[in-house]
């Protein structure tokens, strides 16, 4: 093994893959077969980069040679960078040896498009096939579906991979046209629809025959880049919601655009990465998936943008003061989940604990409720509660004034203007 060459390739191809944010290794249920290597179930983050993102998978490109010229992508055809390509065996060896040392949960393999879609997809599938069939590797495998790849290849990919994903890249078709003129949204949607149907069919078969092989047990996900094109949060979340509903996606990832290339169509090179916006989008995404919020409650025509200063749940609450206060000791779980400062776990604990005794502030605090936010929206077993008739704006000011940490950044930059 030529160590220097492998090291160089790894550096180039890991660097090129890092803008894909998905790193989930959960949602699969692959067991260790015949005393082989590995399994995949709940997902583990084995490390965290210095930017605070989790490292769960060996995330690399097979190659960064690419025939496309997408403006936002570091591997675009006309970008003057070092190119490299792994062989199938090299990827297999790296995966196995990293996995045995407990560095990773598995492999996330993507690639630049070389020659054509099928040629590229076939290589990706070959890596997965080799890992599964020759090495009895049962760890997590996430493959990129290459837009335009044939149904046969996609079916084979599903047999070996735990998760498949097609990146939509831009939240809207217009955005894609602008920045990736070579790409076609329909090419991305076709494999997604094909896989969705295959997954449903596989589930049906599994009910009848227990021996039915697994087919992409961790489902599909996608990624959209935010901040490269002028879409509003309303458009981004509407689009995410559409794909959750129509393609049974497990996750939509939002990737704040990192300016790496000078291009007139894109934000200038030293523009800040929209990290707060990205964070708010994820919070909104969680509200849709776990808290029973409809997308239109979070963003709509009159509120097309998420408030960067406060989280979307608080934002919804101060627009809907008529719902509050909520009585913690009697309200439905669904309503308690809508109170700012109360998360999923706290809400469930509250509902469990109140069967024994009525809960007061002290207990709520112990349970994990963020009282400084929740206090404006709830009553509990105490004579103390918010008696002033505060407007939503008042509450927002109070909460911002009393909180520190990440919110402060925004207020400070505003102050600097004067």
């Amino acid at each position: 093994m030529n160590v220097d060459r492998i090291t160089e390739k790894l550096n180039i191809l890991a660097d090129a893959a890092k803008y894909d944010v998905s790193c989930a290794s959960s949602g699969s249920n692959r067991k260790n077969k015949d005393k082989g290597l590995g399994n995949a179930s709940n997902g583990i983050c084995h490390s965290y980069t210095e930017d605070g993102r989790c490292v769960s998978l060996l995330k690399i490109l097979l190659t960064n040679h690419c025939i496309f010229d997408c403006a936002y992508c570091v591997s675009r055809k006309n970008n003057d960078i070092k190119r490299a390509a792994f062989t199938v065996q090299e990827v297999v060896d790296l995966t196995i040896n990293f996995y045995r040392r407990n560095y990773i949960e598995g492999l996330f393999l993507s690639s630049g498009i070389f020659k054509d879609a099928d040629y590229t997809m076939e290589r990706l599938v070959r890596v997965a096939k080799k890992l599964r069939t020759e090495h009895n590797f049962n760890g997590y495998i996430h493959l990129k579906s290459i837009p335009g790849a044939s149904d046969e290849l996609m079916r084979e990919a599903g047999l070996y991979a735990d998760r498949l994903s097609v990146n939509l890249e831009m939240p809207t078709e217009a955005g894609l046209k602008l920045l990736a003129p070579d790409k076609n949204r329909q090419d991305m949607i076709d494999p997604m629809r094909f896989l969705k149907n295959e997954i449903i069919q596989n589930k049906e078969e599994k009910k009848l025959f227990k021996s039915t092989p697994l087919f992409a047990p961790a489902g599909q996900s996608t990624q959209v880049i935010v901040g490269a094109t002028p879409e509003s949060d309303h458009q981004v979340l509407q689009s995410a919601n559409y794909f959750y509903k129509n393609f049974n996606l497990k996750r939509v990832y939002y990737s704040g655009y990192v300016p790496i290339l000078a291009d007139q169509r894109l934000p200038a090179l030293h523009t800040a990465v929209p990290m707060v916006r990205e964070n708010r989008l994820y919070q909104a995404d969680w509200l849709m998936r776990f808290y029973g919020f409809h997308v239109n409650e979070i963003v709509n025509d009159s509120n097309p943008l998420l408030d960067l200063d406060i989280d979307p749940k608080l934002s919804w609450a101060i627009r809907n003061m008529h719902v509050f206060p909520v009585d913690i000791n009697t309200a439905d779980l669904q309503l308690i989940l809508r109170v700012p400062g109360i998360g999923l776990q706290s809400a469930q604990k509250i509902v469990g604990a109140r069967r024994f005794a009525r809960l007061g502030w002290e207990q709520l605090k112990k349970i994990g409720v963020a009282i400084n936010r929740a206090r404006y929206f709830i009553t509990c077993n105490s004579r103390e509660f918010e008696r002033r008739d505060l407007s939503g704006q008042n509450i927002k000011q109070f909460i911002l004034a009393s909180s520190q940490s990440k919110y402060l950044k925004n207020t400070q930059t505003q102050l600097n203007l004067f």
């Binding site: 005393k35 983050c45 605070g52």
Partner: protein
């Protein structure tokens, strides 16, 4: 005030509970280990582990708690967190003093505390599943040293056994000086004698040939996936507290 001194085992704890009820001791304090000096106005009672008495208490607990509830209590005690025995005891007494199952009564301080302990222990267990870094030795065994905050090694058996079924491995708790060894069939607890050979981490002069290569590749990978323009040290350290760094290949 009565002080009960017991051997630190779960059985010992249950025997102590038996004594407390049998002899109607109140108020009481629990101490682990051997009794040494006695304060002036205290009565110190050494508890001798007794299987019959312990299993009677366990039967009582099973009647009032779900199976998962008993398991949680066991884990909370086994984690061996300093000065938590009074809370564990408080929980047990609350179980016996209540008519109904009180597992979800989070308004009660003992129930809440037990849930907090469990949360900390689970978190530590999960961290170990993530932060164990095996090093391949000459004989093909994969070795990892750990120093977890709580005693979580027994909780790791299931995960590592089902994942690394085709390689011999050993995870050694350097703090508590015992380890877990898997020989391709079963796991067993072992104790190594490091006398004369320095720290346990030094013993491993016997790395296999390609071990260094993969450690370097991993370090390279780790720095390549970082996005410098998104640097967030606070978040980084919150996810990987510094006390774990010395055993993480990518951080030392």
């Amino acid at each position: 005030m009565y002080t009960l001194v017991y051997d630190g085992t779960f059985e010992g704890l249950l025997t102590a509970v038996f004594e407390i009820y049998e002899r109607k001791l109140e108020p009481v304090k629990l101490l682990k280990g051997r009794w040494q000096s006695s304060a002036l106005f205290e009565e110190v009672i050494p508890v001798v582990k007794d299987e019959v008495r312990a299993s009677r208490v366990l039967r009582g607990l099973r009647k009032k708690l779900s199976a998962a509830g008993v398991q949680r209590l066991y884990i909370a005690h086994m984690a061996d967190i300093a000065d938590e025995d009074c809370n564990v005891l408080g929980f047990i007494r609350y179980v016996f003093n209540s008519e109904q199952n009180i597992e979800e009564d989070y308004g009660n301080r003992y129930v809440m505390r037990l849930s907090e302990i469990l949360k900390m222990v689970r978190c530590e267990k999960h961290r170990m599943e993530a932060f164990v870094r095996f090093r391949k030795l000459n004989d093909g065994t994969f070795y990892a040293g750990i120093e977890p905050d709580f005693n979580v090694l027994p909780l790791l058996i299931k995960h590592f056994k089902s994942r690394y079924a085709d390689q011999q491995w050993m995870i050694y708790d350097i703090k508590r000086n015992y380890g877990l060894y898997y020989d391709l069939h079963d796991t067993q607890f072992i104790e190594m004698d490091f006398a004369g050979s320095g720290k346990p981490s030094d013993v491993i002069a016997a790395y296999s040939e390609d071990e260094g290569i993969y450690q370097n590749l991993w370090k390279n990978y780790f720095s390549s996936v970082n996005i410098a323009s998104r640097k967030n040290t606070k978040l980084h350290v919150r996810h990987i507290p510094k006390r774990y760094w010395k055993h993480l290949t990518e951080k030392f």
